[in-house]
């Protein structure tokens, strides 16, 4: 499977990559986006099977990325990894079609729990 990791922090993209590996998902192909617009562009061009996105990013926020993709008929599996975890945000994410919500700081166990049903 191809996974797109969208986060404006290069360090956080590396941590998500490392955590995916620790959680046993190291064999998947990983691609990265450094802002929201790039995430939309790569989600369209690279056709990933899953998008793991930060919420607060330059250009477009994560929720804007998700809404933009869905409005264009793109049904890629999409979830958030974010430090922000209010109920209103989780509801907005779910309403827009998000599959999961992982809060920073996170552990490999949390990745395993959330992503196993999606990645198998």
């Amino acid at each position: 499977m191809k996974i797109l990791i969208a986060d404006d922090s290069r360090v956080m993209r590396q941590i998500v990559t490392r955590t995916l590996r620790q959680a046993g998902f190291g064999d998947h192909e990983l691609i990265e986006a450094a802002d929201g617009q790039q995430a939309v562009d790569l989600a369209v061009a690279e056709k990933p099977d899953l998008v793991i996105s930060d919420w607060n990013m330059p250009e477009l926020t994560g929720i804007e990325v998700l809404r933009k993709l869905r409005a264009a008929g793109n049904d890629v599996k999409f979830g958030f990894v974010t430090s922000e975890c209010t109920a209103e945000m989780q509801q907005a994410a779910e309403a827009a079609g998000s599959a999961f919500f992982i809060v920073k700081p996170f552990t490999a166990e949390r990745f395993d729990e959330v992503l196993s049903p999606i990645l198998g």
Partner: protein, 158 residues
Amino acid sequence: MSDPVVTEGDLAEMVEQVWVSYLDPEGVSPLVVHGDNKQSSEVHSTVSITGSWHGHLVYASSQYAAKKAAAAFLAMEPDEVSQEDISDVLGELANIVGGNVKAMLPTGCFLSLPTVVLAPDTASYYPAAERISGLYGSWEGEPVSISVWQSMKQEASA
């Protein structure tokens, strides 16, 4: 006076999670809180919160503590990390704690992207805001602090 919206105990819980997850997964070098709010820093990062609550979250530390944090995040040695890595990690630390602080505030708040300042925290001013809580400690002998500043204007109009 009533308790602040975010107490030192709340900050301590958030910081512990950050240490366990990224900075000290082995549980051997926690942040030791001493409460000395006069301790000096060399670098800091901030996120602003606006909306139904106005204020700032400030993460400050020595340059070496920032370097050690970047090394821990990246699973590298402190001497291997670049200045860019250090800035990135400082911003992310403010973002992570700021996001968790935001979750404790009334609904309708927005978190800014982080700002990183490679200068002591005393170099930044927060006009019309006062510090409502802070966690001051040392990490393997290096100063680290997390503080929350609330706009006084909002308090007056509340």
